[in-house]
């Protein structure tokens, strides 16, 4: 048996055949390391936390003979190939893809048995014994990232075959780069034996896991799942359901007409009949304005019903405008998906973000909520008083959120319009900013000089002492579309950084599987023989400072 061991954070693993290499035979006549009759046995997938997806295994590069496994979990067997590997078709391809394209590495290990059911005599460091000619070859594979046609990212295994040049004491690449083989990499004695015994004694997943599971009884140490918090439903009470309240969505032109309706002009009247009609109107409507509860603007269009004549108090005008049947209206600002920039810790530690919400301002939002995820913003307005609630929802695999409410901000987006009666025919004017106290004022405007003996217009002060204290939101002067303001650090890595300093890991591993620069802060060196105490301590210190495997 062998297993594929991965670490890192992955999701939505899937395989795409189009990445397969079609050529089954390397250009330099690579020799099948396995004799005919060798069987691949179970291949076991292991992975770090967050691995959840599909895995395919194809047993050659010209034909996708896949076995699909969904929702691969730690310890699952993701493939079973019990077939004969033909002489020149030893290429076995495993592709693992991830939407996250997180930095991760798989260690692939294969255990195999030959046709007689006996484990191949293996030099546990290399695959030399697999060759009939006994040549000293070493297999090595690398994970090569690829960008797939559907926009996802993946890896395929690229194989290099090394031949050990004993004269020069070095390994030389002898296989072509296009050959792909899923082969053993430095299977050490301890691990080989452990595989034979079907026992894994490596803890590679960090402090929350062990080979027996996450907790003492094998259950996860803690629950990573998240409840989905949704936007609450709008209240069911509606102003319009109150029979004597009327809510209209009015056009500015209709307001002008209404103004003329409420405050008919007595100016420029040259005949008695028109004057008397105007005076009658003043008497009829002069108190009507007190039945106007409010006139204001909101930044969105409410849902509207049928047109009705505007009714003010006991008077019904002939101005037809759509009613607003619902007190609440939702506005969806849409969603924004932001992929990680660096696909590493810098996306989180070195990144700050503010979210501008119209009528609210800037709010801080942690990268975990949006990096590599999606933020949605929805507003719910109260049409009656112009108040609102802004809802921010997040879908993020890092934060274990699925379209969940992570923030809500209330405020007012109501631009009150003064209802002043001393401004005849100008009721709809005055989209003013700031807050004002509208003082009562005397009506102006003459009916005309022909009226005599009747009440003069100046005695009928159409001015209304009512005044509204209004606060026209300065937010109307601000932006109306949400946006992210993201600040990111700009890393500066040298080309030799990996080789000189290594990269953070924190995984328990058998050291024989390592290569390159390595730092091990702590290690149990019990059982080391043939070394003095000073040598052992020197070894420990060297591992802390970094050595090259």
């Amino acid at each position: 048996m062998g297993h594929i061991v991965g670490s890192g954070l992955l999701s939505n693993i899937s395989i795409f055949p189009e990445t397969f290499i079609t050529s089954a035979t390397p250009s330099n006549g690579y020799i099948n390391p396995f004799s005919p009759g060798t069987f691949w046995d179970d291949i076991i997938a292991q992975h770090g936390g967050g691995f959840d997806g599909q895995a395919y295994i194809a047993d050659n590069c010209t034909e996708v003979s896949v076995q699909q496994y969904n929702n691969v979990q730690q310890g699952d067997i993701i493939g079973t190939l019990a077939k004969t590997i033909l002489q020149n078709e030893n290429q076995f391809l495993l592709i693992v893809t991830s939407n996250d394209y997180a930095t991760f590495t798989f260690n692939a290990e294969i255990k195999y048995v030959n046709g007689a059911g006996v484990v191949q005599e293996a030099n546990l460091i290399n695959m030399a014994c697999c060759y009939e000619n006994g040549s000293d070859y070493k297999q090595y594979f690398t994970w090569v990232p690829v960008n797939l046609s559907n926009g996802k990212h993946g890896f395929f295994l690229q194989h290099f075959q090394y031949h050990y040049n004993s004269g020069e004491q070095k390994y030389e690449i002898v296989s072509g780069e296009n050959s792909v083989v899923f082969v053993l990499e430095d299977l050490d004695a301890l691990h080989h034996q452990s595989l034979l015994n079907d026992h894994y004694d490596e803890d590679i997943f960090g402090p929350d896991s062990d080979p027996e599971g996450y907790g003492e009884d094998g259950t996860p140490a803690h629950d990573h799942t998240s409840d989905t918090i949704t936007i609450p439903d709008a209240p069911s009470v509606s102003t319009s359901s109150v029979g004597f309240m009327h809510v209209y969505k009015v056009a500015s032109g209709a307001l002008s007409t209404l103004g003329q309706y409420l405050f008919p002009s007595a100016q420029n009247i040259t005949d008695i009949e028109s004057a008397l009609r105007a005076i009658a109107g003043i008497f009829a409507y002069r108190d009507s304005v007190q039945y106007i509860v409010d006139l204001h603007a909101i930044p969105v269009s409410p849902s509207i019903g049928s047109n009705e004549f505007i009714k003010i108090g006991s008077l019904s005008t002939d101005i037809s405008q759509p009613i607003v049947p619902s007190d609440y209206v939702d506005f969806d600002c849409g969603s924004k998906t932001i992929p990680e920039q660096y696909r590493n810790f810098i996306d989180y530690v070195g990144t700050r973000c503010k979210l501008f919400l119209p009528f609210v301002g800037f709010v801080e939002i942690a990268p975990e909520y949006w990096n590599g995820g999606t933020i949605s913003i929805k507003y719910r307005f109260n049409v009656i008083d112009g108040s609102f609630m802004a809802y921010v929802l997040s879908t993020s695999s890092k934060s274990k959120l699925t379209n969940s409410l992570i923030g809500q901000y209330g405020g007012s987006a109501c631009l009150h319009l003064p209802v002043i009666a001393n401004s005849y025919g100008a009721l709809a004017s005055g989209l003013v900013g700031g807050s004002m106290q509208i003082a009562a004022g005397a009506a102006t405007g003459n009916i005309g000089g022909v009226v005599t003996g009747a009440m003069t217009a100046s005695n009928f002060q159409g001015n209304m002492s009512q005044s509204n204290n209004y606060n026209a939101s300065t937010s109307y002067l601000g932006g109306r579309r949400p946006y992210f303001l993201i600040e990111r650090e700009v890393p500066c890595f040298s080309a030799q950084y990996r080789h000189d300093k290594g990269l953070p890991l924190n995984v328990s591993m058998t050291l024989s599987s390592l290569s390159g620069f390595t730092i091990i802060d702590d290690i149990d060196l019990s059982g080391i023989t043939g070394a003095t105490e000073n040598e052992i301590e020197e070894l420990r210190q060297l591992l802390k400072e970094g050595v090259y495997f």
Partner: protein
Amino acid sequence: MILTFYMNSSDPRKLDKTLTSLGAIENCSMRDVLDVENPTFRVASAALPGSFNYVYCDYTGRYYFTEDPVEIRTGLYDIRCRSDVLMNLKTQLRAKVATVTRNENISNGYLLDANYKAMSYRECVTLQFPYAMTNDSLILITVG
């Protein structure tokens, strides 16, 4: 004891040294007391390689870094050595299981890297959502 002389071209921190063999000399001895960690070998031979920096001692079974030989008298040299613990213990070390803190080829990119450096400025980007609230609407509320 037999000392095999080499020229080591590898970094001292490398487990597997790349060694160029320069020959072996028999009948060497260890000066003073037996010190397997930091021995001083005494070599009486006119065949001492002209340039070397690494030896293997069959008696101690260890590889050593060497300093320049000190000629005691013609044909007699003292060579101070220091045990190469990595080379000597590499097989046992490779069999160990340990928590790897950093590695050149395997990494978890989401772990904080205290060694990384960043520019003094930050990159700032603005990303808009799709829709804006631009449908200003007048609402008239009356009673009656």
